[in-house]
Subunit: 371 residues, 2 copies
């Protein structure tokens, strides 16, 4: 095992609820706190365990909401106080990652940071490590680097990255400039991307020197940059942090890091991509969760829930059981059943994307108690 | 409103669990204790209310298991002690109805009894009353009389009665001899029955003089008859009943009244049928329950459960909610979802008949706690 990268720091934004996984994921039990892989621990902990060999356990920061502080500390007993960066309210990924970058840059001006979602699933940890180490070498040269996943199928649920000219960087096996980002395509377009072989899945992983990231932010989002710098200056002063957060954080622009930094940096030729040859999934909805659990098995029922009492007769799809109830599924195909103490969802794999709409409807109809 | 029929006594066998309606119906909450029609009261109480104008409230006996005594008395606060006939264990319908006949015959040798299931649904109470009054007049002539329902569709879930020669009886508008009983047909046969117009649905209603019924029983099931007579002799003697029940009841033959009396009596030309022109359903499974609740509406979701918190998006079929959970059904067609505190069933209308198999499997796999 190689030693950790000494100037590298990981940032884990742990913010999203994962609405399309309702009622499993919800405000007080967001997706990153669940064990969706059967690993026996949460996705957040899986993420931590994947990163610790690259950074060492003292150099992983988590950016999360105040409400999740206790859960995060319980999941990550080794985490230092200074590495828990609490948001007073959600302000999207550019603010979350930008705040971490600004704080870490103030503590160590030469730091290289890497941002990795708290709720994605990766299989092939060694290959992941290779990709991150390569990305760090490219980042060292002043690029913002993303790891793009080599696609295994024409997925329509992910954005894609079009690779441009090759970059030759010492210590990195493969790297290229990013020609452009493309939004989720339709199936025909996705198929053409696969055939083309220069497209990778956008997995939302960004590795960069903190000073480079902040400079890009200053260029494209000056107001956000100014606010984050002011926050970072006060952050490590116990007396000053609170008032500055209260004054600045609620007014910061809400924007995803893809739009705030990655796309404009790509246009300027400042964005590089390192291909990641590992299995990756954002497990965005019950269709992808089913695929993940069945792992290639066809016509079977995926069951998530350690104490599930299931009687299944010719049923396929997914059953998530969070209660001790006996659940009988008879003759239902591609079904999605999510059984929790206060809410039950029944839909089909085909309609998995519509679950987000359910959450909106529940909000609008005064049933937010189960969100 | 006409006066009750003075020599008529109704018997309501309240025994069946209704396994194909699991987990709604179960051992400690059998079908007859549920409100399946939205009437606001149980099927048992509906049955009582339908019969009371024909018999008066003092002349309705219920034959049920010891476990259901409290529930029955709670549903029927007007019922006299002597009218609650308790079985120590289930022994099928010939024993249940035969015991009531023997007891009532001993109390009043000239009584005419009518047996009506506790868990069927009837709409058109006045037409029902006409049919029963006609049947009583035919029974007075010494026939065992069944009320056969005029079919509204080629149902494959019911048995049929083939009408034979017309019977002319004073006071009865329509009556015929029963030519034969036929078991549940396939669809083609059922269609031919409808076209034929001489077939009626077997609704399991029997009206007869108690002495006639007992005489038929003596002829075809002498052991059962002898046991029931001995039970009836001891029944109204508090000291003697217990020991006699313990000695005789467990050894009585288990046989349905259709096979014990109706079919052999039909062969001997002793069985008459009066057509019933009312809506009737035995609500045997979730498919028929759905039809009953939707009452002709197509592509809709039937919801049973007074406090159901449902969010349905393009769902059809049936939802039974016995909890306070929020239930969201998205894009599922002809679905059956039955949500109870300790068990959940998800199947489809098409597979409704297979629910009985679920109950068997649960028994065999040690999960009888939810039956």
């Amino acid at each position: 095992m190689r030693a950790p990268i000494k100037d590298f720091y990981a940032v884990i934004p742990a913010g999203g609820i994962g609405s399309r996984l309702w009622p499993l994921s919800r405000a007080d039990a967001p997706k990153f706190l669940h064990d969706l892989t059967g690993s026996g621990q949460s996705l957040l902990r899986d993420t931590w365990d994947r990163l610790a060999p690259l950074t060492g356990p003292d150099r992983i920061a988590v950016v999360t909401g105040r409400a999740h502080r206790a859960a995060v500390e319980q999941q990550l007993p080794g985490i230092a106080d200074k590495n828990v960066i609490l948001e007073s309210e959600p302000r999207e990924s550019a603010a979350a990652i930008g705040l971490a970058a600004a704080i870490l840059h103030r503590r160590d001006p030469d730091v290289i940071i890497g941002s990795f979602s708290a709720d994605h699933v990766i299989r092939g940890t060694r290959v992941f490590e290779f990709a991150v180490r390569d990305a760090v070498e490219v980042a060292r040269q002043g690029y913002i680097v993303t790891i793009g996943i080599t696609p295994t199928e024409p997925a329509v649920g992910f954005g894609y990255i079009k690779q441009g000219g090759e970059l030759v960087v010492e210590g990195a096996r493969e790297a290229a400039l990013v020609e452009r980002f493309v939004e989720k395509p339709d199936l025909a377009t996705a198929k053409s991307y696969i055939a083309d072989r220069t497209y990778l899945w956008n997995a939302g992983m960004f590795i960069a020197r903190a000073d480079v990231l902040l400079a890009e932010l200053a260029l494209h989002q000056p107001a956000l940059h100014a606010g984050l710098i002011e926050l970072a200056e006060a952050w490590d002063d116990r007396d000053r942090r609170g008032p500055v957060v209260d004054r600045i954080w609620p007014g910061l622009p809400k924007i995803a890091i893809d739009y705030a930094i990655a796309e404009p940096a790509a246009e300027r030729g400042r964005l590089a991509v390192v291909p990641g040859h590992f299995d990756w999934d954002d497990v965005g909805d019950f269709a992808s969760l089913t695929k993940l659990i069945l792992n290639g098995r066809k016509n079977d029922l995926a069951v998530l829930g350690p104490s599930a009492r299931v009687l299944s007769d010719a049923a396929t799809g997914i059953l998530v059981s969070q209660t001790s109830r006996v659940i009988s599924l008879v003759g239902v195909k591609d079904i999605v059943v999510v059984d929790t103490p206060d809410a039950l969802l029944v839909t089909t794999i085909e309609h998995a994307q519509r679950v987000k709409g359910v959450v909106e409807s529940l909000k609008l109809t005064g049933r937010g108690d189960v969100l």
